[in-house]
């Protein structure tokens, strides 16, 4: 089970803030993204429209990290706090 989170503009566009993915075939971030792109009709175009940031277990990474059961993966736009 992988917990997927979306934030800010991305969560608005997808109409989704949180998702649980229960697929044994997802081994890394790229496979997860592929799965999400096929999750709903318009998700592929939204997820590919710009380069979203990604955090695995609450640490930002641009790598294709290997995923394990219980991992938390978040996708979001560039941050704008402060």
């Amino acid at each position: 089970m992988i917990k997927v989170l979306f934030f800010a503009k991305l969560s608005e566009q997808l109409g989704c803030r949180e998702l649980t993915v229960e697929s044994d075939s997802i081994k890394d971030c790229e496979q997860l993204l592929q799965y999400l792109c096929e999750y709903k009709d318009d998700w592929s175009s939204i997820l590919n429209a710009q380069s979203w940031l990604k955090a695995v277990n609450q640490s930002m990474t641009s790598n294709n990290v290997v995923l394990n059961d219980g991992d938390e993966v978040a996708f979001f736009p560039p941050v704008t706090g402060g």
């Binding site: 934030f7 736009p77 941050v79 706090g81």
Partner: protein, 150 residues
């Protein structure tokens, strides 16, 4: 002290908290406020979303990095979330050190990294009622580079 909170904060209270040892010779504070105009448009309100859990972890990491580079006796980072309006306080970074050079550098370093790494997102409501997510600024990304050559 690191806090992500909806409620406002008080300058004197935070200053008094930082001033905790007689070895402190310098206290530098930064406060970020909601401006009335952003990217040329008149703002009426601001809402701040964040990634609970990662936010606190990220701010802790940034402060720890600062502590490896400069002498820091006490530090405070407060970031508000939720609904804010013009001139409201958004963020506070305070550093207490023996000497001013450390306090200035650590305070600006923490703000620069907070701006590009901490998972906060601003959504503005304009005075015409329109809402829009604030775009990340290229200048914030550039501000990071000055810490990578020192």
């Amino acid at each position: 002290m690191i806090s992500v909170q909806e409620q406002d904060f008080n300058q004197q209270v935070e200053y008094d908290r930082l001033k905790c040892k007689t070895s402190i010779g310098a206290i530098v504070t930064f406060t970020g406020l909601v401006r009335d105009i952003n990217a040329g448009q008149s703002v009426s309100d601001l809402s701040l979303e964040h990634y609970p859990g990662m936010t606190e972890k990220c701010l802790t990491d940034i402060v720890e990095q600062a502590k490896t580079r400069w002498n820091i006796i006490a530090s405070t980072v407060i970031h508000r979330v939720g609904q804010l309006t013009i001139s409201d306080q958004i963020v506070f970074v305070g550093i207490a050190s023996q000497h001013r050079g450390d306090a200035f550098a650590a305070c600006e370093f923490i703000m620069d990294y907070l701006k590009t790494e901490a998972p906060f997102w601003k959504k503005e409501t304009m005075i015409n009622g329109e809402t829009k997510w604030v775009d990340a600024r290229e200048t914030d990304q550039q501000a990071i580079s000055k810490w990578q050559h020192k």
